[in-house]
Amino acid sequence: MIPDPIRAGLASGWKTIDAATLTRDTELEADVVVVGSGAGGGVTAEILAQAGLRVAIVEEGPFAGSTEFRMREREAYENLYQENAGRQTSDHAITILQGRCVGGSTTVNWTASFRTPKRTLAYWKDSLGLATMDEASLAPWFARMEERLSIAPWSLAPNRNNDALRVGCEKLGFSSAIMRRNVKACLNLGYCGMGCPANAKQSMLVTTIPAALDKGAILLHRARVTRLVVEGTRIESCVAHGIERNGAAPSIHRVRIRARHFVLAAGGIGSPGILLRSEAPDPYDQLGRRTFLHPTVISGALMREPVEAFYGAPQSTYSDHFLEAALDGPAGFKLEVAPAHPVLVGGVLPGFGDEHARWMSRFDHLQVTIALIRDGFHPESAGGRVVLRGDLTPVLDYPMTPYLWDAARRAFLAMAQVQFAAGAQAVKPVHEQARGADSWEAARTQIEALAMQPRIARVVSAHVMGGCAMGGDARSSVVNELGRHHQVENLSIHDGSVFPTSLGANPQLSIYAIAARMASGLAAGLRHS
């Protein structure tokens, strides 16, 4: 029997409110309201609560623990992901995976842990003028969060899905390495994306959020922040409505929380969306702009032996070989693998009928490589923009420019080359026109002829970054390097939306470290005021 720390905590008297079950309007008061409980919100809530501040955490998704993580895909996508894991950009060209539960995306991510790449930080300093985001100043914050979340290189053998990436790179002379993961006593099951059933993943759900609740924080879950009430240059309160599940209409009963300070940590799309709904000051029209995705393309390979890419740590190897070129040249990409589970693969493999069924019948032999394109470092990669739909929900417009399509084609080529080098019998780029090829030469000819167009080439993203960029100049950013909003006095933003470009690496550890630094500064300031 695996103990469920959420059930135990609730039994110990944690203060929580399920807003979807409220039957009347409710008023609350706190020192600080933290909107969102993912990487940024979790870290912030713990640090503020430990500083003795009264913290209220507001989370749109449910407070589910390991007992409810049954390793079933649809159930997990419906309960734990935004829009049933079917969130898309406004033109339906990019599918976006984002968490929507206590712990946010950290509850459902695949545990890849990278410090912000040195070159990204150098670009922020040299080209964007960020003065304090240098490697040396951030190093202690990375070290602190690595310690807090047990981040260490994966010590078991990679599963066959990951090992194929390592072998293919080795044969071709491409660099590759073992990933670091935020796990403790990991059972190597392979179901991280459905919520860790063993509480091994050191997500916010089992670390910082319980710590904040132990210190007396209150957690309002299944509560969507409808608006921050802005009065001049201050926020007076935060208004939320219960929301039972994805796709449901918000409850008519509202919760109003008054506080001295407000921290937005609702992620890329979420945080700019709340500020747009709240009609927050935005004198230089910066809000929601420069949103980045690491647009990701996928290549499936049939291997001779079973791969069973559904079992074992989903991501444990990677290659940065294609990120080594100059930042201002053609876009680079990071190679990783994705776990294969039936719903994910069934939905991602192009085609229908017998064409689709034939590939599915070899499901256990499938190796899946992905390429994450580093966006945001070139004039032709200015990112997307978060806007509001008619019903005031946020949606991302993200144009895939010719510059990014060029990278997508090179990524399809690189992935096929690596997969054949690893011994693939056949490779199929995830693209509506790709038939699948049984040799590297045939794949190359096929990929060079593919039309690189929205929806024809399938593009996905699990890393939404930017939209509330940090910077020293209010004319080109939304918050400063302390995370404080340029125009609103008592508002901070502590999440991936503050990144001024994409990172070129999976973002969780960058968010943890930067949020820890911002939250520590904020706690010190609030204690003295």
Partner: protein, 128 residues
Amino acid sequence: MVRAIAPVVLASALPADAAAKDRAIAAVAASFDRGVSGLAVSVQKEISDLFTFLDFAPTRVAFAGLWAPVAESTPEEIAAFLSRWRASRFELQQASYQALTQLIQASWYDMPESWGAIAYPGPPALGR
């Protein structure tokens, strides 16, 4: 309508036994509706508009090239309209094709009944 489209989308992935196949299609149709209900409200509206288009003869002919109602069309006619949408230059048809096929595929491959044919043993037992 999903009951007519699902056998074309899933084809040989469905059980060969007629009764098992009927049960699978009914389950996929129910699961499809549940899947749609969790999408953003604006996307739910797009999918409901899609079914309205496919229901109403003039828009069905113009949009999908189907003369008969979907439920009365042959599998070949349904496969042909899905292929046209897949290859279409228009966002509405491309996106409708992907929504229909992916929701049906996701519904089916979540069901343990589908796993035998793809050699997926299912999640490991955790002894709890």
